[in-house]
Amino acid sequence: MMKIHATTTFMHGRTRFEAGQKYQIPGRTGGYFVHSGWATELPDTEADTLYIDIAELEGDAPLPVSTDTTLVIDTGTNAQPADVMGA
């Protein structure tokens, strides 16, 4: 686990992290927030933190912040096996 101080308000998944709030979250996820410039790491001794039950990052970390970013969007394919139009 990792303790962080959100320096800006940001969204990760369905969770909204509020600027100025202190959180306790999974370590790799916290490292991603710090690396992105959205939070600073707090010492383990920091007591006044809010535990957030969010999933740890798995696989590749999200692509890093850039001033001019182009998304990589996945094309959707709706198959129709056995004449049933899939979603």
Binding site: T75, P81, A82
Partner: protein, 133 residues
């Protein structure tokens, strides 16, 4: 046994995105979201990080590439220079109809850290309805 569907049938679905039908569509906004939106408000407000306006000329319907006899595909034009309004991790992209408050299409994107004040570009992408197989 072969199965077949007239491409116009599939285009009917795709045209809801491009031109709309009464009370539904067309899509007039593309939005990068921090989570999978399941409602219009999810996409347009709750999980919205950045967006661009879409117009009918931004959509092209043509033959698709998947198997079957007549797959059809709608391709969305690239949109550049969108302002990132909310900081967060983009994981999904949605097309919505703000006139009818409808969520029309959702896809995934490679997870991307976005910081408010920066610029986001949506590349061209597509959605395909395969033919019956």
């Amino acid at each position: 046994m072969a199965k077949r569907i007239n491409p116009s049938v599939l285009d009917g679905a795709l045209n809801i995105i491009k031109t709309g039908i009464s009370g539904l569509g067309p899509a007039n906004k593309i939005i990068a979201c921090s989570a999978e939106p399941v409602t219009f408000t999810d996409a347009n407000v709750t999980y919205a990080l950045a967006s661009s306006v879409m117009a009918g000329t931004d959509f092209t319907i043509a033959n698709g590439i998947t198997g079957g006899n007549t797959p059809r595909k709608i391709t969305m034009a690239a949109k550049s220079g969108a302002s990132i309004t909310t900081t967060g991790t983009a994981t999904h992209v949605a097309l919505v109809d703000t006139v009818n408050s409808a969520l029309l299409l959702v896809t995934t994107c490679t997870s991307q850290a976005l910081t408010a004040g920066n610029t986001l570009n949506f590349p061209s992408w597509g959605d395909e309805i395969g033919a019956p197989t």
